[in-house]
Amino acid sequence: MTHRDAHLQPRPEGLFCPAGGFHVDPVRPVERALITHGHADHARPGHRHVMATRQTLEIMAIRYGADFAAQTQVAEGPLRIGDTRVSFHPAGHVLGSAQIRVETRGGVFVITGDYARTPSPACLPWEPVPCDVLVTEATFGLPVFRHPDPLAEIGKLLESVRAFPDRAHLVGAYALGKAQRVIMLLRAAGWDGPIHLHGALQRLCDYHLDQGIALGDLRPATIDRGAGKAQFAGAIVLAPPSAFASPWAQRFSDPVIAFASGWMQVRARARQRGVELPLVISDHVDWPQLTATIAELAPAETWVTHGREDAVIRWCSLNGHIARPLRLVGYEDEPE
């Protein structure tokens, strides 16, 4: 399509930069990987050399063990890799998340990874990085996605706890980012009581505490010896959504099933998952933010990686921006 393709190429294992000899967020093991953030579909184990922010490297070590790569390097300041200059910039998505700026002879590329522009107290805010080519995600790239005020959404959860004080409230939230986001929103909304955690969320919550992020009174969601199912009446329990289908959920009597995700904006999605209390809380850009980002940065080209490429490309063509889909494989279509 353009001369810029030569400098950053979509390949089956992920985006490849020949001048630097590295891949960005590769989905298969490679020699040298630059990782935007710690979510499992972007940060996979098995690469020989991994460069990422200090926090992303530590998160990968928690998930995959300290020896997840032969060599790791903290991305600090501008760096030279081969014939390129590389720097990492906050993406506002989850703790440690970054956009990666790659300067080549073919121009400046910014790979957003996943990013959010609604400020989250759990991570540094997204910052604009001028570029020739913006490689953007498009998870919520449809005009129907306009994320509401997250504090108002968490208000719905507290209202339900007040209305059903006898029922445990199970909130589905992914372990990295969303769980801590929900906890911090609850604290901001004035919930000082304990918040119970499914075991799968414990380590990453502990890591946030290590990083100086206050989460308040957290307790494991285990049944005390001799206590009945009523132990969790009126309690707020966070768990990965997959836990709702497992026997783990059987310990709660008549729970309210909530789910914190940008997908909850669409009713059919919520009903499909058997969610009784949908909470539209997202750590991605919504449609107005995504399109505003393209308009503000006004890159010469916009490449769309994963999500609803068609709609974003249509918007670009309507608004005079050059855009193309990359059709990268391997990222979860719905990573919320």
Partner: protein, 524 residues
């Protein structure tokens, strides 16, 4: 509109009836008149608005959203009103809340020409959740999983009133139901304003041989329990109505009955499809239910009839305080006087002991008999299900041994359990699904079934798992209908799991032919 939007949201996502009711009660308690009355009317389908057509909505969207972006959005969301509610361009910041009553009045009073600009202007002033509620209100299809009956139950619960009394006056009330809500809050009961109103129906409790053994058969009369739809036929001056036992007016679907109600009174009866003396299976009646219009061929193919059980009012006289014996005598006189071949008497059964009645019950003369009704001769006609007066003694259910094929996750108390079971019978050497059951088992059996499903899963489809064909379930059911919608060609009524047959190998489960042999004979 905000409170109404929030209400619809809660009702749509709550699977449980009891919580839907509680949500409605709460809404009625905090929402002022006349808004709560309009919300009630929207739920019961009694709001008569100028319907906003999908074409109008598409035009509004097309003027604001690129067609291709809208098409992509609609594909993803799958519901027109919801797509528009979400994708509608967001206007200026703070907006005043539009009262539900004002929204209703405008939609009702605005002419066809003014409707598009009215709807657009209103959508501009709302957030996405209210836009959704507004569009559902305007298009007239709420679909939030609340029946008119449930909405009336909630009104009754709000006022701690018996639901029968609410149903009795319901047909004389009009939105926004200010008089009804005044009554729920301690005011006077609204007069039954409608002609031919519905009267609360008397219901029976279930009995078995043990219950009956304690009773003197001489005190009771018995009749067949016909497998149709329990109805109340009312003729009051020129107004004639046919109600179900919950007060739903089904007159429109049964013009062949309405034209025969040439009397002044209220008859309690079973609605049946009858060809001369032969009563057709329930499946034939089902084809006539829930219709807004009935074609002449359908009327000819499945002619409706009434089989009278009781007489509540006759020629201006209220008989409800009389004993069953006295009402029965009046009923016999009334039916004889009508001389209407499509309205006949439910015959009394001769018996002098419970064992004699048991013998009759075991061999009913027609397959559409579900069992026997046993009525105390001295009972007045009482509203609701009052113990000790009327009993139903149902025929023993039919059973088959079926093989568990699929299981689906449950909600609420069954969260985390596979609790909805689809089972099948052998057709050659393959299993064909014949039904679905989600009750009949104990908590311990549910845990065992859940463990079985988890350890024998062969495939997953969303919340559903396919399992190895190993577990045999004894399925009890109340009857069978022919069905084109089911692959097996049969549909069970009230199937439930009677026993888990761990003693039986799956190969010895029943064959589909066994079930088909139980089907009632085909109609003409």
């Amino acid at each position: 509109m905000r409170a109404f939007a929030r209400l619809l949201e809660r009702l749509a996502f709550t699977p449980r009836r009891s919580i839907k009711t509680a949500t409605l009660v709460q809404y009625f308690a905090v929402t002022p008149d006349p808004d709560r009355g309009y919300a009630l009317a929207a739920l019961t389908g009694d709001l008569d608005l100028r319907a906003v057509r999908p074409g109008l909505l598409r035009d509004l969207a097309a003027a604001r959203i690129d067609a291709e972006l809208f098409a992509l959005s609609y594909d993803f969301v799958g519901d027109l009103a919801e797509t528009i509610a979400l994708a509608w361009p967001e206007g200026a910041a703070v907006k005043a809340d539009l009262a539900l009553s004002q929204a209703v009045a405008e939609l009702r009073d605005t002419g066809r020409a003014g409707l598009p600009s009215l709807v657009a202007q209103r959508l501009d002033g709302m957030g996405p959740s209210e836009r959704y509620a507004y569009l559902k209100l305007a298009t007239g299809g709420l679909r939030v999983g609340v029946s008119a009956r449930l909405a009336r139950l909630a009104v009754a619960a709000h006022g701690a009133l018996p639901v029968e009394e609410v149903e009795e006056i319901w047909h004389g009330l009009t939105p926004p139901y200010m008089d009804l809500f005044a009554w729920t809050e301690g005011g006077a009961k609204p007069a039954a304003a409608a002609r031919a109103p519905f009267r609360p129906v008397m219901l029976s409790t279930a009995a078995d041989a043990d219950t009956l053994a304690a009773l003197d058969p001489a005190d009771f009369a018995a009749e067949w329990k016909w497998d149709g739809v329990r109805v109340q036929a009312v003729a009051d001056g020129s107004v004639r109505r046919l109600y179900t036992r919950t007060g739903q007016d089904i007159s429109v679907a049964f013009p062949d009955i309405i034209e025969r109600l040439a009397f002044d009174g209220v008859i309690d009866a079973e609605l049946l499809i009858r060809h001369d003396d032969r009563v057709a299976p329930f499946g034939d009646l089902q084809q006539r239910l829930n219709r807004k219009r009935v074609s002449a061929p359908l009327l000819a193919r499945h002619p409706a009839a009434l089989r009278a059980y009781d007489l509540l009012l006759w020629q201006g006289r209220d008989l409800r305080a009389l004993s069953f014996a006295d009402r029965r005598a009046a009923l016999e006189g009334a039916i004889a006087g009508l001389a209407e071949p499509r309205i006949d008497l439910s015959p009394l059964l001769p018996f002098d002991s419970w064992s004699a009645l048991a013998a009759l019950r075991a061999a009913p003369p027609e397959p559409v008999i579900e069992g026997v009704m046993i009525k105390h001769r001295a009972s007045p006609y009482l509203a609701g299900r009052i113990k000790g007066h009327w009993f139903k003694w149902k025929r023993d259910p039919m059973t088959v041994d079926a093989v568990l094929m699929y299981a689906q996750r449950g909600h609420g108390k069954r969260s985390g359990y596979y609790s909805d079971f689809t089972f099948g019978l052998w057709d050659g050497d393959a299993l064909v699904p014949v039904g679905k059951a989600y009750f009949g088992f104990t908590d311990a059996e549910l845990r065992a079934l859940d463990r079985f499903v988890r350890s024998h899963t062969t495939d997953r489809f969303g919340p559903v798992r396919a399992v190895e064909p190993l577990k045999v379930l004894e399925i009890a059911f109340e009857g069978l209908n022919r069905s084109n919608r089911h692959k097996s060609g049969v549909a069970m009524r009230f199937p439930r799991i009677a026993r888990i047959r761990d003693d039986k190998p799956a190969a010895d489960a029943d064959r589909i032919e066994t079930l088909r042999a139980l089907l009632p004979p085909e109609g003409p």
